[in-house]
Symmetry: C2
Subunit: 412 residues, 2 copies
């Protein structure tokens, strides 16, 4: 089959994240107001301005929530229409006036997050963290091979790539301290994740297959985590303020449709899953991921390279489990995959793991080390599914650490 190409020549270049096979959705601002767009090569097409074939009301607010709510028929129709309009053999004159250079815009949140749930679904990550927190004997919790473990997070703290992240304060207590102190976190960390976006609601338990069909698309996700706050607060009800400072997502929603050619199965099960979690087909994706760390004024070092296929549970399994008690899901719920760590040291998805809790600081440049994040550090996640002659890129998800603010006044 001849490779599909676009009349937008930059979309056909080798290594381009946004070929015509991708068509991810975002919201951009170029000085003329925020609008909904689709990335193509080095450009963004202003989708609301063209003859897109859907109800114009779906584009009335700069957010993809309404298109998601419109359902799978609309998702397929829009993708088909955009593919047609941007393909090499289409007359470009109808839409070319509505292309905007990516270099001229600021990207905004692509959708309004309804609720955010984060999971814990990489076995390597769970074993690494479990070993550090509870010892090698108790690394994997007894339920881990049966349940896609998750917890509810904080939607209000989700921000788009490029938003600075202020180092949080919190209660911290060293093992040798008798009492906690309230202080800026000194073990502030990243978590490399993929976020699945729920595009259709549910009112009761759903199967894994139906859960998969509810997913609109995926983004890169960095769940910033204060390990010192987490260690003191997380028993018995789980992480809370350690994870509530910020969660960054990439500005482009890569649709499930674009990822179809890259499906791979979850790994062999160590323990059989209960029937409600069984998958009828491959539900993970082969997506190469990397994390770059750039110190203030320095140059970037790639500190981790891994792959989404390392996960033990898929987003569809996580979502099916999420509904198992009857929990209603809503349009634009965001489901974090959990930190994606691979089997090798250089494929770990957090500094906690990469520096083994600070015991083995990571050399990021000659003589320069990191155990956890320092003020001024910029973290950048990248990801792409690599096809035959093209790549489905996620773009970048970055954030720079700002110093902690002065302590809050204790009141009036």
């Amino acid at each position: 089959m001849t490779q599909l190409r676009s009349w937008v020549s930059s979309a056909n270049e080798t290594g381009c994240d946004f070929p015509i096979q991708n068509l991810p959705y975002g919201v951009f601002e170029d000085g003329r107001g925020p609008r909904m767009g689709v990335a193509i090569g080095a450009f963004i097409l202003d989708v609301g301005a063209i003859d897109h074939g859907l109800d114009p009301a779906l584009f009335a607010e700069p957010s993809w929530n309404r298109v998601m709510a419109a359902g799978a028929g609309s998702w397929a129709a829009l993708r088909a229409r955009l593919t047609e309009l941007l393909s090499e053999d289409c007359n470009r004159s109808a839409v070319e006036p509505f292309l905007v250079a990516q270099s001229d815009v600021r990207m905004l949140m692509p959708f309004t997050v309804t609720e955010f749930t984060d999971f814990y679904a990489s076995r390597h990550h769970a074993e690494n963290v479990g070993t550090m927190f509870r010892g090698a004997e108790n690394a994997l919790p007894p339920n881990w091979l049966s349940i896609p473990i998750g917890y509810s997070g904080r939607a209000s703290s989700v921000v788009v790539s490029g938003t600075p992240v202020t180092r949080p304060w919190g209660q911290v207590k060293s093992p040798n301290d008798e009492l906690p102190r309230f202080a800026p976190s000194t073990r502030f960390d990243l978590e490399l994740e993929l976020g699945a976006i729920v595009g259709q609601p549910s009112a009761g338990p759903v199967s894994v297959a139906d859960a998969d069909a509810m997913i609109f698309g995926y983004v890169l996700l960095n769940d910033w985590s204060a390990r010192d706050i987490q260690a003191w607060e997380y028993q018995p009800l789980g992480p809370f303020q350690a994870k509530a400072t910020a969660t960054s997502i990439s500005p482009w929603i890569v649709t499930r449709a674009a990822l179809e050619p890259f499906r791979v199965p979850t790994p062999q099960r160590t323990r059989p899953l209960l029937p409600y979690l069984e998958e009828k087909g491959p539900m993970l994706y082969d997506i190469a991921l990397e994390v770059g760390l750039t110190p203030d004024g320095g140059s970037e070092t790639i500190i981790s390279r891994t792959n989404y296929r390392e996960q033990y549970y898929s987003a569809a399994q996580q979502l099916a489990h999420h509904t198992s008690s009857g929990c209603p899901m809503r349009v634009a719920d965001l489901i974090g995959s959990g930190t994606i760590s691979g089997p090798t040291k250089d494929s770990r998805g957090s500094l906690l793991e990469l520096s083994w809790g600070g015991a083995e600081p990571l050399e990021i440049a000659p003589g320069q080390y990191r155990s956890f994040l320092e003020d001024g550090d910029t973290l950048t996640l990248r990801g792409a599914a690599i096809g035959d002659g093209y790549r489905i890129g996620f773009g970048a998800c970055s954030g720079t650490i700002l110093p902690a603010r002065p302590a809050v006044s204790t009141g009036r």
Copy 2:
């Protein structure tokens, strides 16, 4: 001071939950569309229909979210205006046509919940549950006397009083089982709580005093909990599906303004609090609470009587802690107090505690026992602050348990 009275005579009756001193806000439906109302005696005043003095846009949608967002000045102005219009010496003709009998309406959700956070702030509850789950030696977690422990819950599952609650399925594992089963919960429980509603947003850490000023009002809250699902899933990241089936709230928002005369201080501290949690004044309220259980076809037994003043941490402290890492709060965030248990056996706020994990079933009628909830049981929470000649009542928060549905199909 002569007691303030209303020309709505039922509001002046002894034992009435809704005297003129209360004026709680709700949303009602009487066949002519959902509307915003204030309870007065046995009636509801259709607030949007009268000369309320605020921007009519605040009443354009049947939800109190916009009034909350309008801020403390609007809250005070509306309360003053309603007090004036409903007081004994006011000409009733202007508003009497807009009274609707409570018996003629169905109550709806009073506001759209943005995000839901639940806490764990009764020391008696924490000690009871801790003893059962971890043994008396480890009853109170080491952080409990320093941190108002909380976790993010699920806003999508919050329902208004009167909504039936379907018994959930979930993964359960008895201590003697090697592997979990997927089955309907057999240890389904209530949690007697008070919910604080955040009326104003925050963008960074706030003090306890500022947190208190952000609170618009309070509702009764029942955080339905599947103890068998919880026991197997909650380590290490906290409760998830065990708490996601439903959370019921009472239909009337009792404002912070109405509760002002009932402020009481939190109890003596066993361990000094860190400065960011210090209270400059009394932040709890003296609110008598009770739980009634009515079996299908039977009559109600009060299974618990307790008081909100039993809490170790106030809602203002919980909210201040919630913002401590920089977590943004938004209008209509809901903050659960955590189960409110008193020191005596008959003041425990959950069946888990009342039946001591099922070891001591509770006799609810001669020869009729409960360890956990049975299908057809109706649970009703009630609460009131008792003033001199009047009571600030919360009305009722009730829900009936429906049998578990058939298991979900495992897919297509």
